[in-house]
Amino acid sequence: MRVVHYLNQFFGGLGGEEKAGAPLEVRDGAVGPGLLLEQLLGGNAKVVTTLVCGDNYAVEKQEAMISSALEKIRDAKPDLFAAGPCFLAGRYGITAGALCSVVQSKLGIPVVTGMSEENPGVDLYRGMLYIVDSGSNSARMRDVLARMANLAKKLMNHAEIGLPAEEGYLPRGLIRDRFVEQTAAQRLVAMVLAKVKGEPFESEMMPTAFAPIPMPPALKDLAKAKVMLITDGGLVPKGNPDKIQGSAATRWGSYKIEGCDDLKAEDYEISHGGYDPQFVRQDPDRLVPLDAMRELEREGVIGKLHDEFISTSGLANPLSNTRRMGREMAERVKQLGIDAVILTST
């Protein structure tokens, strides 16, 4: 069994955060946790190649790095690709998920990784991959690798994969049909009775949970504040240069409004299938209130209106897209030193 393993700079032995810019390296044989993985896979399993890359390099040059990694993985002719486990490391998890996903689809071989449930890589890739629930404690490496190895062996043997709780992977949000003893009505009544009695019960469907985000403190001095406009109403420059999709958008754009007092109808269009765009087409300020903000800026009510607005379409957009885009936008807003954002939504 030929295995290729991906590790970040830390688990790959290059160093800590100071080595996060390290470019992709190829090593022969197993490195670090890969040695244990090999052992746990047993039989004739051999990690033939280990890819090591710095977390910053991996996310900043994602496309190029993945393309290059895919070639190297292909060259190694593996039967299995494993990444991580990444625990809570977000850049690592996002990269591991992206690599596993691309290897799975382009090479058609089994892939396995491990992350903590809160790792941003989980949201992005849970539906496509088997992500072992590693928890956040890297001291449990052996146990996590053991579950990764078991899952990997099952995948390679095309064995039936059990439920998340049984196999130790994170629920993928997929629904599978099964025959059971009791009808839905019977199961539902049993759950209600248990709930009323204060007894434990297990829900069959989990509603989406939104982790509570603490409200940021209020602005102390609005007159000095740098404010930025963002919208999810899909307002884009004519021609939609970034090709932002009207529905389930995966992209967002940032558009210049320097020196503009007013958004002109002929300069913009709407990429959003969820509302009648005629009124915003007539006057885009009806969605992105540039004219009002400019007035307030001139009057000194706010310190400065940032000279770009950010836009995407919020229509029918799964959390896997919007959580990522929100994070990316927040990163940008932070980089620009913006004090506050007004987000307008249809």
Partner: protein, 49 residues
């Protein structure tokens, strides 16, 4: 509203900070008031408005 803080109710879906049923002057006034309300939330520790 799903636990969002600092949310101001806009003027409907199709023109959240506008109004197609009033004169341009009235519309500008409405837009300004909504934006001012938004700015007020940014200065306040109140969760809902």
């Amino acid at each position: 509203m799903v636990g969002s803080n600092r949310t101001v109710r806009g003027n409907g879906i199709v023109h959240v900070v506008g109004d197609a049923n009033v004169s341009p002057e009235q519309e500008k006034e409405l837009r300004r008031k909504l934006v001012e309300k938004a700015l007020e939330t940014l200065r306040s520790e109140k969760e809902s408005f």
